[in-house]
Amino acid sequence: MRICKNEMRMGALSIAVSSALAVMFAAPMSAYAEETWEDEVAIIRHPTNYIEVGAENVSKDSAKFGEYNGLDKKGGKAIANISVRGGDAYEGGDGTMRWSLTGRDLGTTSRELGAAVGNQGRWNLNIGYDELRHNITDTYQTPLQGSMGGNVFTLPANFGTFVAQTAPSARTLDITSPNQLSAFHTEDVGTTRKNTSLGAGIILSPELSLKFDYNHLAQSGAKLMAGAALGGQLPTGGTGTWRAEAVAILMNPTNYNTDTFNLALNWKGEQGHLSGGYFGSFFKDGYDRLSYQNPMLSTGGTAPAGVYQTNTLSTAPDNQLHQLNVSGGYAFSPTTKLVGGISYGRNTQNASFLTGVPELVTTPQSSLNGVVVTKHFDLKLSNQTTRELMLGAALKYNERDNRTVSDTYLYRQLGNATYTGVNTPYSNKKTQLELAADYRLAVGQSLRLAYEREAIRRWCDKVADGYQCVASPASNEGKLGLGYRMKASDSVRFNVGYAYANRKGDFDSAYVANTGNRAHVTAPPTGSTVIVPSATYGNGVLNGGNFLGFAAQPYASRKQDILTAGVNWQASDKLDVDLSGRFSRDKYDSELGVQNGRTSSINLGATYTYNDENSVSAYATMKNSERELKMGATSTAAAGTGNTWAYAGVAATNFWTNQLKENSNTIGLNSKHTGLMGSKLELASDLSYSLDKSRYATQVPYLATCSAVGTLTCGDLPDIKNKVITLRLSGIYALDQASKVSVGYMYQQLKSEDYFYNWYQYGYTGLRGMPTNQTSGSYNVNVVSASYIYSFK
């Protein structure tokens, strides 16, 4: 072109021709280019809005399949989704207003709807509604009458009494009373959460902003829980012994309302930032009790004292949390930063105690007046000492200080015996120190050395009778970790890490548990801290650490090794392959309790992205874990002095062990294809398979008959096995620029084997259990869907 330019010798004619050509060609081309260009940019600049309407059909009823997705019932559901956004901020000018309206799954109980408007850089406002029905079961049966979500349940007047039978086929139901069987009915049990939210923010200045959000969570429905009562007659029919373990499965109402507030003022400067805020959470329970008629008690019979016609359980008490939070950071230099925060919270609970129930004897106050003060402090200093070395040090402190008053409560326990209880308000505090150094050895290679120290203290303030309340008043743990990462080449990255942790837990044999009956406590002799066993009861006031050498798992001394490794191969821009693994081993020092544990996992994954929008990926995960438990069934204490109880400081006898082994395998394959049929068709697929197994095995070497079918206290339990297969296929076809048709298919299968449900089946409960016939919820469900999507800019 330069040559051409240099050789130009333009005369009048050539200029005239040139001008004419320019006018003829350039002007219209310019106009065309300008229009196209602007149009294209305008299209890009504006968000894609859409409205989707359609229908889907579910092939079968299944609460488990529809646990969270709202597709628990057979039949049709509407599909309704919407996303519309607008505002002059999208026009490319000086406008900053944006608004949006979104709705998803509006045709199901998993619906959500939200709207937002904001003037970017100045303020924003949003509201939202989110609903979630958690379907728990649709196979639960009960003879109790009362609506799910209510708190009063009664039996039909002609129900009679459960009279235990020896034959499993007849057990728990009085076969002479057809009214009992006919009283059982099925309930769909689940909870519904309705979240309403409001959020707002305002930027007061470039440095200062204010944020607020409020959330109201309204819960209804119920969850299943057990209720135990005194009742249940032995097979002789009406003349047997009453037991305190008459079990009924109940619909525990979740009539809850929780209001949550967040208010924060944020300041942001050149070198520092600071946030101060308030968090408030207010929980209210619509019920103060759950009462139910005792099915183990004949309505016409004469019951011994303490066997109540109606039993009462407490519900969750109203409570509040107020918390003040301040956090901030300051950059001393581009390489040195300090961040930290402090929180102070006050959690109170003062719901009125239940009154008018026969089990109460002496209640010292009408409500708990419970107060828990939570404190938090953290500080972290990071420094990029050199280009190669990054150092960090952090200190964290958390305290839960339960300042609730401890008092003595007298009542009758389930077995009608008098019980002297002393509440032990538990407190704990944790201090953590973290030190870390990251060193870049060479280009693509780095080393990380980290050390953590954690100290936990546990206590109760002023327990009414002065006893120490926790088995482990203190534990300390040190953890040292070393990690190495290497970029072996442009496409291969490798990492390996090892960590060693050592936890030392203290044990105080002088503790008396929350659940200990104080009437059974004999104070330790002067100069001793060991509780002397009661002549009648031993010292069943303990509850974890009764035997010499036992330590509860969370507090036991433990050594832990963790090894991790991974390699990532970015074979090309398109292919990514990843392999990683983790192995950990726990070794507990205690003679009894959990002895050891091991976990291992391997992950393999590959993704082939053959262009920006099209990909195929596959993954597999294998996880295994084990833990071993060792216990003693009895003590060396002399018979007749409470040998059925365990003793602190007394050696255990008759050891048994139990192993838990878990295997989990998951594989998946998914793909996404767009741009098919001239960019009109998009296809996606997702296939996954998971198989999880848990197995308990018990060995009771001291008992030769443990494997007899009449006892079966040793041996392997049946696997808890759950297999889930999911296939999702979807396709979207563009009819034109604005209209699309979407079709989808989903198949999911759950095969669940779980002995948990055995005990609740008709004829298979214990002598004092009310059946529910609830099953594990295996299913095969197909869902087909079709919808029309209208999209616009």
């Binding site: 002007a27 998993s110 135990a228 929980f283 870390a436 994954g605 999880d692 079966l712 392997d716």
Partner: protein, 340 residues
């Protein structure tokens, strides 16, 4: 012949003008430049203020066939216009070079044909020479404080996770900020957690009713495991406030650590339990009653082979929790044993 030559010259000029019009987003002609008769229109910003330097590139005025503009090369990049980073009217909105650097080598690239220019100073591509810390520094210039207070030294920062490993800044749909798709982004690295969510007992992640960020602050936190709150229990109580208490009768591990019994991402044992009663309870209790007693297949009842008269309620079904059902705490004055 002369006339023919003049016509050819005129055509040459006309074509030049046409090409100039067609590729109208050129660099403005430099002052005093008289080499081309008709001055080209200055390049226009397409989306952001000052982005013409980037979006109008690759269009050499003296090349009849210039290379494609950004609009043609990668229109997806311009989808930033639909995001908060694309609002011109907001004075805080960054330009291309605010994030990618001045990138003089890239801008000044004079290659021809299919030659590729050097990467910008800061490249956020999947495969890039720009260290994660440098990429993150670009983002943290504006996004400092608040939720990112604890970024430095956090698990993600220490493992060289860059903002763009999770976020798509130029996309209309940033999957990690969408409740329905966020988990899949996290599962790119957190594969054990992905496997957990396939288990029979989970939080509603797969249904898109809950996200990882409901519990975790992925940008760093003062809590354990990047949890949003200061402690695990505080985090759990955000949604499960009914378990916060304080109760008259407390269960000690509940007051200290929900994960003593529960595992959050998924379990083979409902509801999200690490183990099953009575074995789980025996890990802590060797005391009164039956917590120290061995149980084998009797726990599976008659269906498990037991033929005795009484499949025990101590081991069957909820086992210990058949009676100690208020396991998270009780406020009943007659509930010390968590029965009521």
């Amino acid at each position: 012949m002369k006339q023919v030559r003049q016509l050819l010259l005129s055509a040459c000029v006309g074509m030049l003008l046409m090409s100039g019009a067609a590729f109208g987003a050129d660099e403005p002609a430099t002052a005093g430049d008289t080499t081309v008769a008709p001055a080209k229109a200055p390049a226009k910003d397409l989306i952001l203020k000052g982005d013409a330097k980037c979006t109008g590139c690759h269009d050499e005025a003296d090349e009849p066939v210039g290379r494609a503009t950004m609009l043609e090369l990668n229109p997806g990049v311009l989808a930033i216009a639909t995001t908060r980073h694309g609002v011109k009217g907001d004075a805080r909105t960054p330009t291309c070079t605010d994030c990618h650097g001045e990138s003089k080598d890239h801008v000044g690239f004079k290659g021809k044909g299919k030659e590729k220019p050097p990467a910008p100073d800061r490249s956020f591509r999947k495969i890039t020479e720009t260290p994660a810390a440098e990429r993150n520094a670009a983002c943290l210039t504006c996004h400092k404080g608040d939720k990112r207070t604890h970024w430095e030294g956090s698990q993600h920062a220490a493992n060289d996770v860059a903002c763009n490993n999770c976020h798509k800044v130029h996309a209309e749909h940033d999957a990690v900020r969408d409740k329905r798709t966020q988990a899949e982004v996290c599962f790119t690295c957190h594969k054990n957690e992905r496997a957990d969510t396939h288990k029979v007992s989970t939080h509603p992640l797969a249904a898109g009713k809950m996200t990882c960020s409901d519990c975790h602050n992925l940008h760093g936190s003062a809590g354990p495991k990047l949890l949003k709150k200061n402690t695990l229990n505080e985090t759990c109580f955000t949604c499960h406030a009914e378990k916060r208490g304080p109760f008259l009768w407390e269960h000690q591990p509940v007051t200290e650590d929900c994960s003593s019994c529960h595992t959050p991402h998924g379990s083979n044992i409902t509801p999200l339990l690490k183990s099953r009663a009575p074995f789980m309870c025996s890990e802590c209790h060797d005391g009164a009653h039956n917590s120290k007693a061995p149980y084998g297949p009797v726990a599976a009842g008659n269906q498990g082979g037991f033929v005795g008269t009484n499949p025990t309620e101590n081991a069957g079904g909820r086992a210990c929790m058949n009676c100690h059902s208020l396991i998270h705490g009780s406020n009943h004055p007659a509930g010390a044993l968590l029965h009521r």
